[in-house]
């Protein structure tokens, strides 16, 4: 059954399926129960699956992840919700020192099939700590896998794939896209799903490659549409997986186009764009017509809501970078 639903609702459906498919799946977090989460991603799930499957936790992120680890050791598959990007840091120690390392430490004896869902990014006019993009802080950590969905269909499938994966997955949700709609096949089979750790060419093009993920995929697609009007044919890749990166898809594209622009909201310094630029340059050194350019948030704390539009990469800044690439 194909339905046109919001990205947020798709996640809700995906989580519901995950709960149905495996009795060991539990959802835990602040306000995920009766309230259904502040973004309603878990709406109705506690009602239907009970308080043991959808757990309203004490207000303590380290506790959420730390107890999820214990549950996982016992055979559960916890899906933790962090309420906002800026509130994941109290859990950072448990994530970096335990979630990421326990499989390694135990010589493969302990699997922690934990998913940590984080609504991330700006553009919703919020106060401090509610608009951050901390993905690089997780992608840098060996032992974690990091993904981000950009549309309803991916949201529905990727959250389910993350839950069935035995790897710990940090799952970044583009909060400002929660309300954007897309077609979702609610009967889609996990077995035939597009692999979780593969990037996808969302728009094929020939002149330059635009790399984006999460909330910036839409921005990149808009830029490509605008560029098309000017006769420039941009290829847009939705990275989907931030760690590991699917570089094969990226290299093949850049070798064809000769130009690459990376777009993300996180500060540029040591953001994903840095790694992509470094790898692309090494692999495609003789194919590049210009250096890989980055369109990112600035290296400042996320600013006040009334100026966030000037902080966030937008269509114009993407096009400007494409122009600069062509002018190199």
């Amino acid at each position: 059954m194909v339905e046109t639903i919001t990205l947020g609702k798709s996640l809700n459906h995906g989580l519901r399926r995950a709960l149905e498919d495996d009795a060991k799946v539990v959802i835990m977090g602040e306000d995920v129960g009766k309230l259904g989460g502040v973004f309603r991603i878990t709406d109705g799930l506690q009602k239907d699956f009970g308080e043991d499957r959808v757990i309203d936790t004490p207000l303590a992120e380290s506790g959420i992840v730390g107890t999820a680890i214990g549950l996982a050791i016992r055979g559960y598959r916890p899906v933790c919700e962090i309420q906002f990007d800026g509130f994941v840091f109290p859990a950072y120690n448990q994530i970096v020192a335990q979630v990421a390392k326990m499989f390694y430490r135990s010589l493969g004896n302990v699997r922690l099939p934990i998913v940590i869902r984080i609504p991330f990014g700006g553009g919703i006019g919020a106060v401090e700590h509610h608009s951050e993009s901390p993905e690089a802080l997780f992608a840098h950590i060996p032992g974690l896998k990091v993904v981000s969905c950009a549309n309803s269909a991916d949201a529905f499938m990727m959250i389910r794939q993350a839950v069935v994966s035995d790897d710990p997955v940090i799952f970044f949700e583009p909060k400002r896209r929660y309300w954007e709609k897309g077609e979702v096949d609610l009967d889609a089979d996990l077995g035939q799903a597009f692999p979780l750790h593969k990037a996808r060419i969302t728009r094929a093009g020939t002149d330059a490659t635009v790399l984006a993920y999460g909330p910036m995929v839409r921005t990149a697609l808009d830029a490509a549409s605008a560029a098309a009007e000017d006769g420039r044919n941009l290829e847009v890749i939705d990275l989907r997986t931030l760690s590991p990166l699917d570089m094969e898809t990226v290299y093949a594209s850049v070798k064809r186009t000769g130009r690459a622009v990376v777009v993300h909201e996180a500060p540029g310094n040591l953001g994903l764009g840095a790694e992509l630029a470094a790898r692309i340059t090494e692999e495609c050194f003789y194919s590049l017509e210009a250096p890989v350019l980055r369109v990112t948030g600035y290296d400042i704390p996320y600013p006040a809501a009334r100026v966030e539009e000037d902080y966030l990469p937008d269509l114009d800044r993407v096009l400007d970078a494409v122009d600069r690439s062509f002018g190199w």
């Binding site: 602040e30 306000d31 129960g33 009766k34 309230l35 259904g36 502040v38 309203d56 936790t57 004490p58 207000l59 303590a60 380290s62 506790g63 800026g86 509130f87 840091f89 109290p90 006019g125 919020a126 106060v127 401090e128 700590h129 310094n269 600035y298 290296d299 400042i300 704390p301 600013p303 006040a304 809501a305 009334r306 100026v307 000037d310 902080y311 114009d316 800044r317 400007d320």
Partner: protein
């Protein structure tokens, strides 16, 4: 004051860390709390707790009227902010509705030299510090992130990450000791505000550890408004929160947080103990968040109307008004005047909020580092160049 000692208000309060006592009835939760003014406006002369502390207040009529005026004013300002948010003039608002007594009472208990560390909801405390109530509106309007000087106002910037400020407050309090500013009646003390939900955060419990170890001059003031967003108190603890303190070796006490007199008396005593060198204490102000968590919240999803109704009967302002009227400390003219002046203040606030200029985008590059940074400078220059390139176009 004409009231004699009255049993009803003196609900038994366990000694810090002691076993709970059954509550004799009335509006106190199991375990009791300190109450000096009942919901129907009866004064209780004094309350003596199981650990031998006696609490009372000795206000002049003028002071009572001032307290009332502040309660009414902060509620009115809060209502104005809620309206401004609904009208799209604020990005979000965290209402203090229902918590006026806890905030005004504790705020008044602070002496000039005391330092407060608020969460994001302490607009009432801010007001009692004599600070222009417009101050937090930069944050809620999205114009800045809460930009003021804590040391000028003896009131730290709002803290959004739950619990963090309790450690800052503890460190500040350690500094008071290191500066030799305790051990006398004009010593300094610190008050750290936080909610019931916050008590689950590691940071808050670490603040308890540190304060105990360093005997820091600090009062931990927990507004237990029964909810952390949608989660009721039982998700954070299975015993009353004030009892947490005993585990760290300092006193904990529960007060009727809707009683401005009890709040004042107990907070003042705790602060004075702290400034005198007797170290930390925890106050649990038992109150209720009458409104939504913030303007983004929909409390009908997780609590029933009758619960809210039952708390209306314990309104923190009505009881003061009843008391003032009964005691003829104030009359209808006074009440009308206060309503009027609060309204005026609110409308003035509204005007000034609407007049708040949007920041120049380029200012987002300010104040990243005291000593600046070539990267930020470069990006600012780049930003200006980029925007200049649109000049004359429709951008």
């Amino acid at each position: 004051m004409a009231n004699g000692e009255r049993e009803a208000g003196a609900v038994p309060l366990p000694a810090p860390g002691g076993a709970e006592h059954p509550t004799p009835g009335g509006d106190a939760p199991a375990g009791g709390f300190v109450q000096l003014l009942t919901p129907d406006g009866e004064r209780v002369d004094s309350v003596t707790t199981a650990d031998g502390m006696t609490y009372s207040v000795d206000f002049t009529d003028e002071e009572y009227r001032k307290l009332y005026a502040d309660l009414v004013t902060v509620r009115r300002l809060d209502a104005e902010a809620t309206a401004l948010q609904r009208q799209g003039e604020l990005g979000i608002w965290a209402s203090l509705l229902g918590q006026e007594a806890a905030q005004v009472g504790s705020g008044h208990a602070l002496r000039k030299q005391d330092m407060a560390f608020p969460t994001y909801r302490e607009h009432g405390v801010l007001y009692t510090r004599g600070i222009d109530p417009i101050m937090p509106f930069g944050l809620f309007r999205g114009v800045d992130q809460g930009g003021w000087d804590p040391n000028e106002y003896k009131f730290n910037t709002y803290t959004i990450v739950i619990g963090s400020q309790t450690l800052h407050a503890t460190g500040y309090a350690m500094g008071i000791t290191m500066d030799g500013k305790t051990g006398s009646p004009d010593g300094e003390a610190v008050i750290a505000y936080f909610g019931d939900g916050a008590t689950s955060q590691g940071d808050v419990n670490e603040a308890f550890v540190w304060s105990g170890v360093f005997n820091a001059p600090i009062v931990f003031f927990c507004q237990n408004n029964q909810y952390a967003i949608s989660e009721p108190l039982e998700r954070q603890t299975r015993i009353p929160l004030y009892r947490r303190a005993a585990g760290y070796g300092f006193p904990g006490i529960r007060i009727d947080g809707n009683d401005v007199l009890a709040t004042y008396a107990v907070t003042r005593a705790a602060l004075d103990q702290a400034r005198n060198g007797q170290g930390p204490s925890l106050i649990e102000a038992y109150t209720y968040r009458m409104g939504a968590h913030t303007s983004s919240d929909d409390p009908t999803r997780y609590r029933i109307a009758s619960e809210v109704e039952s708390w209306k009967a314990k309104d923190p302002i009505a009881r003061v008004k009843a008391f003032l009227a009964k005691q003829q400390i104030a009359d209808d003219t006074f009440f009308a005047e206060i309503d009027e002046s609060a309204k005026k203040l609110a409308l003035d606030l509204r005007e000034r909020v609407l007049a708040m200029p949007d920041p120049q985008p380029v200012t987002m590059f300010d104040n990243v580092y005291p000593h600046g940074s070539p990267e930020v400078d470069g990006q600012r220059a780049e930003f200006e160049r980029y925007h200049a390139s649109f000049e004359g176009s429709d951008h």
